[in-house]
Symmetry: C2
Subunit: 340 residues, 2 copies
Amino acid sequence: MIIDCHGHYTTAPGQLGEWRKQQLSAFEDGTSGQRQGPSISDDEIRESLEANQLRLMDERGIDLTVFSPRASFMAHHLGDFEISSEWARICNDLCARVADLYPERFAPAAMLPQSPGVDPASCVGEINRAVDEHDVVAINLNPDPSGGYWSSPPLTDEQWFPIYETMIEHGLPAMIHVSTSANPAFHTTGAHYLNADTTAVMQLIEGDLFSRFPELQFVIPHGGGAVPYHWGRFRGLAQALGKPTLDDHLLGNVSFDTCVYHQPGINELLSVIPTENVLFASEMVGAVRGIDLMTDRYFDDTVAYIEAAELTDGQRKAIYSDNVRRIYPRLHRRLETMGL
Amino acid sequence: MIIDCHGHYTTAPGQLGEWRKQQLSAFEDGTSGQRQGPSISDDEIRESLEANQLRLMDERGIDLTVFSPRASFMAHHLGDFEISSEWARICNDLCARVADLYPERFAPAAMLPQSPGVDPASCVGEINRAVDEHDVVAINLNPDPSGGYWSSPPLTDEQWFPIYETMIEHGLPAMIHVSTSANPAFHTTGAHYLNADTTAVMQLIEGDLFSRFPELQFVIPHGGGAVPYHWGRFRGLAQALGKPTLDDHLLGNVSFDTCVYHQPGINELLSVIPTENVLFASEMVGAVRGIDLMTDRYFDDTVAYIEAAELTDGQRKAIYSDNVRRIYPRLHRRLETMGL
């Protein structure tokens, strides 16, 4: 069984984006009021997936994807907390509909109604709702809701603790995932995403968050940004900071996904990060949609890299499904209920 | 011959730091006026190097280091342009004294008097001075003088062009190197440095700077941040942006240093980046000063990794010296003058 822990609904029907545009222009105009969400039929949802994610999942042998709202569309920097709340609810409801339509192919994960400068505790309500109404299996936590200006405190700051307490209460891991960069210095998927991964890990190394929350589980997407490539640097920095080894300090609570889009990068990831901390993912259909002319395969066909890597069958099974079932206990329960 | 293209004067005598403190507190107090630089004797300089950089260079077989002011001390975000100018002049003069004392062991590179919000053209004077008075072989260019708030335009913006024109006029490459992070989200050496490397490369991929300046040469330190690890992602993003291949778009003008502090990372770097684009460096004594208990060698002993990598003698020679002599023509001339 192959579980992809990192998929976003990047192909949602156009009404969703249209609705968002209207929401934001109403906000700018100061027009408030109750708004209905976009009207999207089940058939439109099916069509948006069957031509895209489901087709590629079938081609690559991916059984199930943990599916969350489009990361670049979260855009927490726009509007205010009310705007983000409305938007998060609509996007989370839509991913839940996907999982209801294809329960064996998708499991829902929730975005949060973050807003820069607003207390992260304000997100607890939407987490609870997403669990109660949709049985989500994970959340996406944005360490920089400002969109590339990095005005939030590090993830180790107690401001974030209400989110962590809620995650633990429900057995939810968090993928640490930023959204669109509003800062012209940072290309969204080529710089901001990777920088955020690196930044988050270094925040965790500097702090002692997991002594306080030993049950907390974070997934660092995009292969951990620069971290596995610079694993020696991070081991050395942890040592210089008087921290335990990264095995003890980090790897009980932090995993890395396999969204690294070429064989040498995947090989490097697998050679330094213990197998139990690597989760299969492709972030498809996502940042890099083209075909690699060097391999004639999609850049984001990460199954091909894992297949070609020097791994035992047991290691491959751990990366494809065992690890994610351990770190996403609600997903494991979902699958068990379906006899999977 | 082994040339380290990335060394900073991190061990300068304490008077330098004291002087800087006084400079900044005078700025805060609004006390202006002419100040003498710190008084540091030749013997004190010798002592600061012989116990540190020179000892380690001898132990590791490094012949010469391109030596620039301590990166984290540049702190362009503090003070204003006048403050940065005074500080850059003092730091550049000090590195030039090092090179005068040990001409076969150190060649000077200059920091710039950058200041956030100030036109980069204001740095041209100090570049010219550093060339005229000290025959520097390179400059360090900070893509984010705000210290982690990224308020400058991308490196492809025409604001930076006067610096590029001056570099080309003098045959100077630039190492793209940020300074201390003033943003609590970013650990300086564990996040900000690596993020800046990744960010800079993505800015260059998005733009077309080298069509405009075909002679420009940039060195991306710290093994290129996340870039070589995600080389497939960057190849795919370039393709999606309608750019030429990275070989054509980037690698005629961009090189990566070898400041990656473990063997798997170095192996990954060497497996994706062509040999001619890799420059030996250790950034020693720098970010990671400890001994790796897994190898019993210093983390930053990058000679050991290059020695252990699968390279031909010719490739090793290119990485150790030929490439840097090609990309740093003023260094090559210096060495030739000394019969090296």
